[in-house]
Symmetry: D3
Subunit: 238 residues, 6 copies
Amino acid sequence: MLRPSLRKNNQMRPVSMETAVNKSAEGSCLIKMGGTHVLCTASVDFAQPTWKRLQNKTGGWVTAEYAMLPRANGMRKTRDAIAKDHRSAEISRLIGRALRSVVDMEKLGRHTITIDCDVIQADGGTRTASVTGGFVAMAMAVKWLMDNGHLRENPIRENVAAISAGLWNGELILDLDYEEDCNAEMDANFVVAESGRFIEVQSTGEQHPFEKSQLSEIMDMAAGGVQKLIALQKQVLE
Amino acid sequence: MLRPSLRKNNQMRPVSMETAVNKSAEGSCLIKMGGTHVLCTASVDFAQPTWKRLQNKTGGWVTAEYAMLPRANGMRKTRDAIAKDHRSAEISRLIGRALRSVVDMEKLGRHTITIDCDVIQADGGTRTASVTGGFVAMAMAVKWLMDNGHLRENPIRENVAAISAGLWNGELILDLDYEEDCNAEMDANFVVAESGRFIEVQSTGEQHPFEKSQLSEIMDMAAGGVQKLIALQKQVLE
Amino acid sequence: MLRPSLRKNNQMRPVSMETAVNKSAEGSCLIKMGGTHVLCTASVDFAQPTWKRLQNKTGGWVTAEYAMLPRANGMRKTRDAIAKDHRSAEISRLIGRALRSVVDMEKLGRHTITIDCDVIQADGGTRTASVTGGFVAMAMAVKWLMDNGHLRENPIRENVAAISAGLWNGELILDLDYEEDCNAEMDANFVVAESGRFIEVQSTGEQHPFEKSQLSEIMDMAAGGVQKLIALQKQVLE
Amino acid sequence: MLRPSLRKNNQMRPVSMETAVNKSAEGSCLIKMGGTHVLCTASVDFAQPTWKRLQNKTGGWVTAEYAMLPRANGMRKTRDAIAKDHRSAEISRLIGRALRSVVDMEKLGRHTITIDCDVIQADGGTRTASVTGGFVAMAMAVKWLMDNGHLRENPIRENVAAISAGLWNGELILDLDYEEDCNAEMDANFVVAESGRFIEVQSTGEQHPFEKSQLSEIMDMAAGGVQKLIALQKQVLE
Amino acid sequence: MLRPSLRKNNQMRPVSMETAVNKSAEGSCLIKMGGTHVLCTASVDFAQPTWKRLQNKTGGWVTAEYAMLPRANGMRKTRDAIAKDHRSAEISRLIGRALRSVVDMEKLGRHTITIDCDVIQADGGTRTASVTGGFVAMAMAVKWLMDNGHLRENPIRENVAAISAGLWNGELILDLDYEEDCNAEMDANFVVAESGRFIEVQSTGEQHPFEKSQLSEIMDMAAGGVQKLIALQKQVLE
Amino acid sequence: MLRPSLRKNNQMRPVSMETAVNKSAEGSCLIKMGGTHVLCTASVDFAQPTWKRLQNKTGGWVTAEYAMLPRANGMRKTRDAIAKDHRSAEISRLIGRALRSVVDMEKLGRHTITIDCDVIQADGGTRTASVTGGFVAMAMAVKWLMDNGHLRENPIRENVAAISAGLWNGELILDLDYEEDCNAEMDANFVVAESGRFIEVQSTGEQHPFEKSQLSEIMDMAAGGVQKLIALQKQVLE
């Protein structure tokens, strides 16, 4: 049975990453995965976050904030609802963990990089697009720090990207759009490093519990997709 | 003395208005005036706002919300600060008044159109760009209502646009960018209708009180600029 | 046609300003313009505001806060609604700009003067009454600073006051009360200095766009009214 | 030993109650007890409070809200701090209980009366002044309801007023001003009905626990003071 | 007439106090008075509270926070409602005053002890149980400070406990449970020290004003109950 | 190398589940896993949640709220910080998904069951203990609904429980306590149904990316632990 998007099971949507889309930010990337568009900016602060300074820790920090614009979806969402949205806070935490996983905080020095991921248009997979595009913005900010003499050594160990996958009508499919996501039996998000190791696996079968073997199969599919995304990251960062 | 932007005193920055930039919204426009970029979306609600219904009033309503993205400026602004920003609320009210001034609320029927103006990048004149681009988004939403049989008659009476002007180094200049705005002696915003009449005049000389004659002269300059913006609105709405 | 208040077009309501109405505040003034009563207090803080100190700026600051008491109007307003009222925040900003425009911040030294304008009873023109009465409270606080040896030189350059005017039934009228304001075609507020120059012009014709010539005429009427208010300020400050 | 105010131990400060000080409110009273000035307004709502309607209860309700203006005290208090002030909420609850205690809710019908007590100037005893002045505002609102044909029978059973008393330097004293209150060993507030019975006794000896006999003696003193306040209430309500 | 609980008028419910119920807290006590269960923990902070430090005061502080768990009552209360509950804030202030009344703040040194009283199950008298159980937690924390060499002298002057009493069906009864409390004509809470002196008397007759003699009688009953509670405190603190 | 708790790698802490610990709630369970104590209550509402009713959906709903008491941890957390804690909101969502996964919403009818999980004492694994104990409270509430004639058929399809596991010092270990959790290289939580299928897998290697094979092995260990927890659930629910 064909998936609603008519794509093959392991086929991702067309992806583009446009860099330097914000003249103020130290790094920025507008990532489009099909109808999902996320504007990612990286802002450098020449200080540790307060909590780290108070604990007398060394090194820097990377943090992320994810939010929807009011009309990113079919129904307009009020700004009040956006501000209190726990789902966004949960996604912000995921993006932060993902990006920190490939950065050596000691080498980053006493800098904080904040990645803002604002969803301009949503069509499924906004959190994974944010990780992938956020990495590009972060890498540009790190380059800016090095080019301007604030860092000697690149603190980024390897690239990282993310993709969604799921079980739809009994089939394992990659990079679900909104319509597919709504009807998926199981829904999973994978953050994978360039080295092929996993940073984060989040898999939920609220409607339909899943077998261990299904998770295993879907992890392979996701790992393949991520490598393509990382190749594109490298290309736009040249 | 040359203005910092090297433009002539009555010269606006390059303007572009891209429409249909959001596939969900009933109307949308990305307006760029030099380095100021504002994403305007129009969302149609098939109901009056609550306050109007409770007062048993007839007709529809147009309202606007203006906000900055965290890194629209040189310094990142926290989302908390954005949510509580009274300046944004004041600008939202201005945009709403400006757009309502050209709409016949009875002809709009029991619909509410919400215009979201999200500043992607700020370089002075964000509120006036929001009025100008917001009109385009609103006009598209009205056309969508008519095309889909929800309205018989166009409730928009005429176009409206806005521009800033000010007194800089003793010279009257049009369409100030951020650097010019910071050093202006007097700062004014004008909302002008296609018919040449004024909807809103806001002029403030906190640093340097101004003469009545100066306001008079600057109003002519602004009226000229607005007519050019309205011509471009008409072109992109064709 | 007679205006509802039966006043002549350029006639203001009876005005009174009672000073020293609060035994704690460094300056205070209860201003009554007809049925509009505003209690203005000036509070001196022997420090710069935080934002100014953090930017290593010199000099002092003047700021204002405007609020309605719950039953200032015909309908009681909840305190929650008052606390979140964006209109009040907008008016607070206007009052602050108006009062700062006549103060030399360097001569004020490292002091912050906060003007609280609490509307006891509202009948139109509360924001302009707040500017006029707020000036009296501020001038008293400045005198207190000088009398107590905290300032050597008076930082106030000239007096400032404000008045509303508008277009009602095709007639230009001064100092609108609530009933007149509700039915005005155009509504404007003017902050004018003793020298006759303008600090702030806010004119809005949401219902009926207006001609440049109308604004010109109304500015003359407002300037005349303000001079009378300033004369009264001087009298009560003796 | 003389108390700081030089008053006799059972001597209250000069009291005045000015009525009809707000042209919108159905009842209003500006009460002054020495340097403590409280503006009390009564607002009638032609409906039960929501919680009562949802529980299908009959009858009306009386509620109160107490707040300080920012500069009521020697130090200016921010409006944010005022909005979150738990002490004010506690006092609001006390005033509400006090006023409800003398009203027959069935006879009040489906009306809600809200008493706002805004402290213009504070010098000790603001909560008790609020009860005493709030009663006057409430009684006027009830009279308004009767005069306008909304009520047939007076729901007020008897007058109620309140006074503070305390232990200062080992002496029992009545109606403490701020300076006396700060140094009191024990601080008590009494709400007493015209019939001499007690509605509320709040007595706290955080610094110095007190004997039962002391409370007994102070209750007599307070009951005497309240009768004088009730006499004045009756006079101004004529 | 028998009270609903079938207890004698001056009979308290079965009481138990279990200590050391929290392995992190410096002191903790789970107090059960019949169906009312309150978990009290004492947390030591090695610093004065900010307000005391800013005022350059010496000595320590004791403060309390009281809250209900969502399902402590028959109806679940939302966490939002709990966070904004003014009744809880009022009770927190009462508990704090009660516990501070028996502590010598100078001897406590620059420590802050925070007593959290979380109501696990509510059946009337939660505030008085919180005072009684909170004292046990505080006393344990003080002992911990002494045992660990942070204090040389015990700053606690004497024990303190609290009990409710009221007028039900014309009878004076002790330690009201929820059902009795709902139908009481008068409701009072008493905080009493080991020495028999009173710290706090709060008596309210919103429904039925009460006579001075009734308060006198009920104070004796409460004082008797408190001595039994203090005896139990001493036993569990051994 | 021995784990800090001296347990074997696949050995859970001592577990107990005490039921009916709250006399008001329709179901309740105090679960203790070593030093982690969570009080779970189930509250039945005889209505659908608002969002479901507005969408005209049939069936009921299960939702969960998770929170820490202020002194559940070694450091006291302020109630303000608790109320705004995004981590708690994220965990609440996880618990809700886990419990809903085993309930047939149609068979539940128009009822909402809210599970409150309040952490009395925290020592690692609070979210998984909340799922396990929350299931017991939910099952009791369902039984209550059936016993009282509100439901004919049991809507619970099977039991569900959860456990944490992780990579510590290169070893895969089960049921991490706080000390182990702080030093884990990889940290994972598993929600598993009685049938052995997985409801949720959350695995994060922020510090150390992990191999697919490691996740596979740890899933087996977790599945074994969950079966023991489910056996205990069945025992206490008899």
